[in-house]
Symmetry: C2
Subunit: 121 residues, 2 copies
């Protein structure tokens, strides 16, 4: 699966959330703080099409864009890459790391424990 750049990912998020959309619709839904012009969004859409992670169907003179890959799949791949690179492919050190950095609230801990318990059954 083709790599998706950081900015492009923001566009994918929009379409994972709602699809199909026109370029203008996507632009309208991209987070404000990106400060992107419509032209920029169109560039992103073209590149994502070229990468094969979006498809488009014609709607008169416009395109309707929709994701060609599933969000969970992409997220899984990216997470895997990070874990491979920074934690030698092992998940436990990641969790340990997060714990040590106080990224885990008591609520998180409870939730994860529940999750793991279900996994074992």
């Amino acid at each position: 699966m083709e790599r998706i750049a950081e900015g492009e990912y923001a566009v994918m998020e929009v379409l994972w959330d709602e699809a199909p959309l026109t370029a203008a619709d996507v632009a309208a839904r991209v987070p404000e703080d990106r400060g992107w012009s419509l032209a920029t969004v169109k560039t992103m859409l073209s590149r994502l099409l070229a990468k094969g992670v979006l498809t488009h169907e014609e709607d008169g003179r416009r395109y309707l864009y929709r994701p060609a890959i599933r969000r969970e799949d992409y997220v899984a791949e990216e997470s895997g890459r990070l874990i491979d690179r920074m934690f030698g492919g092992r998940v436990t050190p990641l969790v340990a790391q997060l714990a040590a950095r106080d990224r885990l609230t008591p609520a998180d801990i409870a939730e994860i424990e529940k999750l793991l318990k279900e996994l074992k059954s």
Copy 2:
């Protein structure tokens, strides 16, 4: 903290493992499969210096390089970035995701449970 590119990260790994080292030493320790020439490694070192994530001390006509940032800190930052981007800043969905993707072996689960238990005390 400056962003470290994928290739540059491989150089950092070498120096986190052993420092200080000369450019030639670093080149000798970079994973074979990168297939990098000494020149390439030197470029990486310069860029990392420019980014402020390495320091160098003179040793005659050569430099001895050593990390200027701690590995755990950088790893923490990168992990945080991924979690923010792909999981809305929440850790639990990450773990859920890993679980669903069978990235968690029973041994992992046991280990994580132990880790969490310690956290609570």
